[in-house]
Subunit: 416 residues, 2 copies
């Protein structure tokens, strides 16, 4: 079964708003195993909407039509669908009653335009969910179906989840379950990953289940998505777990997390399990590291303190080299917050000779303070973003290495 | 002249990433007066990409094709365009040389897949801008044109601004200039703004030039966009300036900035002009305020220091009420950094009675320390985001009010 998404609204084409509805709908369709080969955006124009719907009905079994159900003159989705289905519009008294009630409840006066929202193509079924004043509906066109839902994201989602997705699922008669898991990696290029996994991907191509796909997530690294199709949840889970093990064996420590797990969440989780605390001093990264760590630890139980400040500690010779400055920042912030571990990031001082994008980083523990240096690509905001993830990954690798170097660490209470 | 946007990538259809490239491209096309009637998303499938391109070439004069120029097997945009244009692919030696250089500079090894990126349809022109390893190109198909740009947003934008948009503009031979300016507001609802501006919008509807439109930008407030069409730049500018004056007179202090000006940029600019410094202490907002201020002032010349820490100063009675805690944080951070002004934000302590979403804020100057309290809507991450903009706006209004209350302030050197 194939389902196409048509998003309607001139504001989408003009770039005034981003069409996140289609993103969400695409994700839901994939989850229930329905193919979506095309997604189209079209403006509030009768002929062009009609052309898109006709084409979509040719190449797909169902069409989800999103937007253009509001009360203004621009909102013509109802009329276009009726035209394409070759039927007239009928005012639905029950929908009209609900719109009137909605207005009465808010103490607002209703216009004829608002009543127009109750006009539904003859033969269409009104979607029972109606969180706003725009009704959604399902309109048959021959053996195909058009679902019309409003463009307001919360209203659209409620109708999709309550009616459209279950209906599509029933029609498709799918029994298969599709599940996926994403392994998040940092430190390799897409082609590097592709090379490491080439043999595995080739082997999987022969069976087609599970599949592996790469997804770039910009500065946050690359994701490897494992997707499995199975008759039930448990079997899909088993296939994914087996594949995950194989992929992890190939990729090793560059895998830092799974699905929505962020680098900072992994770090906070590990330190928390070990009962250790972390402090941060940043100049170049301007608060970004603290922001990410505090989002992962809002109570600030593990991440106990952050400084954002230019490099200018009283009484320090300005000629201290970059790596030493980073080390000093790390040890100062660690001492001030009585933290077990600390990290610091700073850049070159004005006039200091350094390659473009140079970042000085340091990690301090009770045992030692180590400096790292990197030359990162991009313009200053990109260098800053890149420095954040670099510093976090350096800490993550250090925490892994520390445990590897110190097998006693494995025996610490609570260590996973 | 009509231009269609085709975004290529299965990950777009599966909802794994949102197609913000088309949004941005749509906005740029509108700015230069080129109509874009359709935007299409299609997966990494040869036949379907070809079908989309053929349809786009039928109904539009130019097609911007975004994505699928990477080094992996999925990346087939080059091949499809060559097929649609009825030509072969040729390896461009100059592009190949640039890719090799890029790899050498990063000390990475290059694979045959990376070399494939230098394959360009015969007769196509390589776009000179090439910030990554994927070249963009312009390929003629009869009297129509396909522009191929990478899906990496920064690379796509550089090629669009440097080559595609100027080329489209030249081809379209547009004489009219369309310019717009956005006034950024904070503190009013959309219906509130609409009510204030209703009379003005009605008056403008009669002439159609300039126009006013509202754009929501989430937690960052609402934008009022003024768009003017004129035979030349100077005339468009004159129309916009006149309208801006009228709109500002109606909206007053809720307008905080123009176009890309952020709240924090406005604050930093004002303090810098007055030669004053700012420090920040945050617990609830976890580094977000520092991050935004340091982005506006990367040298940290005006924003001189930030603390991210839980509320636990040594020797303080834990029963200190919220507003007092915020004031203490503000005065402590101001003293520590010898700043002229400081701000602080914190939330209720565990077990402390407070309405959901309560935020305690304070602003400290040499003269006084004032606390503010707000109950903000949403889940904890939303409250955090909302608290940031709330605190920044409170500071902005205080700086305006300070100057109004103290006319001598106007005489300070450098005050604008």
């Amino acid at each position: 079964m194939r389902c196409e998404v048509v998003a309607i609204g001139t504001e989408l084409l003009l770039g005034q708003i981003t069409d996140t509805n289609s993103t969400w709908i695409g994700e839901q369709l994939a989850r229930i195993g329905i193919d979506s080969h095309y997604q189209v955006k079209v403006g509030d124009n009768f002929e062009r909407i009609a052309a898109c719907l006709r084409l979509a009905l040719e190449r797909s079994d169902a069409v989800i039509c999103c937007g253009g159900l509001g009360p203004t003159q621009d909102d013509i989705t109802r009329e276009v669908i009726a035209e394409v289905a070759g039927v007239g519009l009928l005012r639905d008294p029950e929908v009209e009653r609900r719109i009137i009630e909605r207005f009465a409840a808010r103490g607002r006066t209703m216009t004829e335009n608002n009543r127009r929202q109750a006009d539904i193509p003859d033969g269409a079924t009104v979607i029972p969910q109606m969180p706003g004043t725009a009704p959604g509906f399902m309109c048959p066109v021959g053996d195909r179906t058009i679902y019309a839902v409003p463009g307001v994201p919360s209203e659209m989602r409620q109708m999709m989840e309550g009616f459209v997705l279950p209906d599509l699922r029933r029609r498709s008669g799918t029994v298969a379950v599709i599940r996926s898991r994403t392994l998040r990696t940092w430190g390799h290029s897409e082609s590097g990953l592709a090379e490491i996994l080439a043999g595995r991907i080739e082997a999987l191509d022969r069976t087609g289940n599970p599949t592996l796909a790469f997804l770039a997530s910009g500065i946050e690294g690359l994701k490897v998505r494992i997707t499995a199709k199975a008759p039930d949840e448990a079997e899909a889970e088993r296939i994914i777990a087996g594949e995950e093990e194989r992929v992890r064996a190939l990729l090793g420590e560059i895998v830092f997390g799974v699905d929505d797990q962020t680098m900072e969440a992994v770090i906070v989780e590990r330190l928390r399990a070990e009962g250790r605390t972390l402090a941060v001093a940043e100049s170049l990264t301007g608060g970004l590291v603290s922001t990410r760590l505090s989002a992962a630890d809002p109570e600030m139980a593990t991440f106990v303190g952050g400084w954002t400040r230019p490099w200018a500690p009283a009484g320090t010779a300005p000629s201290l080299p970059g790596p030493e400055r980073a080390k000093r920042m790390a040890s100062d912030v660690r001492a001030a917050h009585e933290a077990d571990v600390s990290i610091a990031a700073t850049g070159p001082l004005p006039g200091e000779q350094a390659a473009p994008g140079t970042v000085f980083m340091a990690i301090a523990t009770a045992r030692e303070t180590v400096a790292h240096e990197a030359a990162l690509p991009g313009d200053p905001p990109q260098v800053r973003e890149y420095a954040v993830i670099n510093l976090l990954n350096t800490l993550r690798r250090a925490l892994i290495g520390e445990r590897a170097a110190d097998p006693a660490g494995r025996e610490r209470p609570g260590t996973s």
